[in-house]
Amino acid sequence: MLTLWGNVLASGILMGLVYGIIALGLTIIFGVIRIVNFAHGAMVVFGLYVGYCAGAWWGIPTIVAAVSAGALLFVFGYGLETSVVKRFVTRPHHIQFILFIGISLVLSGAQLITFGPDPRPSVSHLSFETIALGPIRLDLARLQAATVAAVMILALAAFLKYSTFGRFIRAAADNRLGGLMVGLPIPKIYAMTFGIGAACAGVAGALISPLFDAQPFLAVDFTLLAFVTVIVGGLGSFVGALVGGLTIGLTEAVAALLFAPSLKSALSYGLLMIVLIVRPRGFFGAKET
């Protein structure tokens, strides 16, 4: 019994790290540009397809696919920000919502046209191979996804904390006007931030490609998952996204064990409701929204 719980909690934490990185992408874009990326799920699915193609067509390992998906999505996000999104930064939220719904539809539609509506199962056998850690058995796909996610989170944190450009980004998030006054390259910061946020989604998508069958309709699920995670953690908070991701990952794992697997999303929404009642801004939510 204890081993079972250990296994479930471990896999919950591993998935939580991946959820954390999805949420991180959403939260970093919101923290700096003050835009909610409603196309985030579609970008995760983009990464999922990159992972699928890499495995099924060229036999590339998932880790390499994750790096390429990150690079690809970074370029995509950078381009999208400089060509479209930047015109909508100062527009009201509901206009931005329509814009991102449009972008999401175009992305999902492009995926549908390219790959069709049928689920594309991964060819990777990683999810069937396990590694024993004392009494706990972890499947390799999850372990690999969580490790890469953890490395990426640490790298991102170091980049934001120690590099000059990372300091620029934090300054812009803290005070846009002040940043403009001291001569920060705000347009470039915004484009970079959006690129980084999209790259997080892409990496996460590629990492979970051995676990999920690639399917265009998953976009809505991933968008909502990211929303729930950031609301629980606190919108715009780096640590909050991580804690939120771990919480949701653990909740889903426990729900699948205690109740039916189909109820796992109900329980995360239930958790969300509890968080709302106790702490409406999430664990690490800022005072100003």
Binding site: I98, L112, I113, L224
Partner: protein, 344 residues
């Protein structure tokens, strides 16, 4: 000056409005069945869009989970009618009450800690999804298998709200007319002024003695109750209720696309916007199916949405009004386009 224009609706606007509805009513007699059913759905989404528009345009609260209220209304009608054989009118009333309570609870939960703006919007979508997941697993309301209304037989019945496609066409057209009038009336009422003051500057209106916390809850629950009526009618028109098709995120999006694309805060915006976007979506699907390319419709509809918010920042209806005005040099539509816009 401001007060005077608000107090008396422009006569030209009222006449134009009535003329438009007269034309739509006459169209109901001549159109083919496909167009009748398409327009019925358009009208219902317009009606629900008006409730959404009240919440943002007057109350200043953005909801991207309005399917929650639609679903509550739809399930109230369906459960009371199918399980207990009660008239849908009871269902509509019960749905309104439930949606008002749920809306008030949601608003109370978030506003008591000064949660506003986009954060509240995310809460609405989370609540809608929560409800959808709960209803998907709830056997009493049909779970994933949904609920089906018995097939229509016999003459149209206003009491049981059952009838043929044309019957629902007129019911939903009446609902839109009711919605336009209600919007105009509320705007000129005490609540309309209070809500707009609160929307424009919450701190200042509170300083003047407006109990903003109470009024924010009120506007959300009012809008929710309104949307529940639309949801109940939608369930009757569709003849069945499924969690995904009545409470899904797609419904929430469809509700707010029309008013925004048509022109937020204008009297005709929701109707014009829904009249253009919903058939466009259907058309894109038809073209996609025709060429056997699934997904083509998503790309087309998505690009259309992006183009709409990019090229027509205020929406379609203000753009039409302004272009007609600049060509003819006369304001044919009175000040209709000003409706509930932020500038007034």
């Amino acid at each position: 000056m401001q007060k005077k224009r608000d107090a008396l609706p422009d006569r030209g606007a009222v006449l134009g409005c009535l003329a438009a509805f007269a034309v739509l009513a006459m169209l109901g007699g001549v159109l083919n069945p496909y167009l009748i059913s398409l327009l019925t759905i358009v009208f219902l989404f317009t009606f629900i869009g008006q409730s959404w528009s009240i919440m943002l345009g007057l109350g200043g609260q953005l909801s991207i989970g309005h399917a929650l209220f639609v679903g509550i209304g739809a399930y109230s009608v369906a459960v009371l009618n199918i399980r207990y054989g009660l008239s849908p009118w009871f269902g509509l009333v019960v749905g309104m009450a439930l949606a008002a309570i749920v809306g008030a609870t949601l608003a109370w939960l978030s506003f008591r800690f000064e949660v506003r703006g986009i954060y509240f919007a995310l809460l609405t979508i989370a609540a809608a999804e929560f409800a959808r997941v709960v209803f998907s697993g709830w056997e009493f309301v049909g779970a994933m298998q949904g609920l089906f209304f018995p097939a229509q037989s016999g003459p149209n019945s206003f009491w049981m709200l059952r009838g043929d496609a044309r019957f629902y066409y007129y019911v939903s057209l009446a609902a839109v007319l009711l919605g336009v009038s209600a919007t105009a009336l509320i705007r000129r009422s005490f609540l309309g002024y209070v809500w707009r003051a609160m929307r424009d500057d919450e701190d200042a209106s509170r300083a003047l003695g407006v109990r903003t916390f109470l009024h924010k809850i009120l506007v959300v629950s009012f809008s929710g109750a309104w949307a529940a009526i639309g949801g109940g009618l939608l369930a009757l028109v569709q003849g069945s209720v499924f969690p995904d098709s009545i409470m899904g995120m797609g419904i929430s999006v469809d509700i707010l696309v029309g008013p925004i694309v048509g022109g937020l805060g204008t009297a005709f915006g929701p109707l014009i916007g829904t009249l253009i976007t919903l058939p466009l979506d259907h058309l894109a699907s038809a073209i996609g199916n025709r060429f056997g390319i699934p997904g083509l419709n998503n790309v087309g509809y998505g690009l259309a949405l992006i183009a709409a918010v990019w090229l027509l920042p205020d929406g379609i209806w203000p753009a039409i009004v302004n272009s007609v005005k600049s060509i003819t040099g006369f304001s044919w539509f009175g000040n209709l386009q000003r409706g509930m816009s932020r500038s007034d």
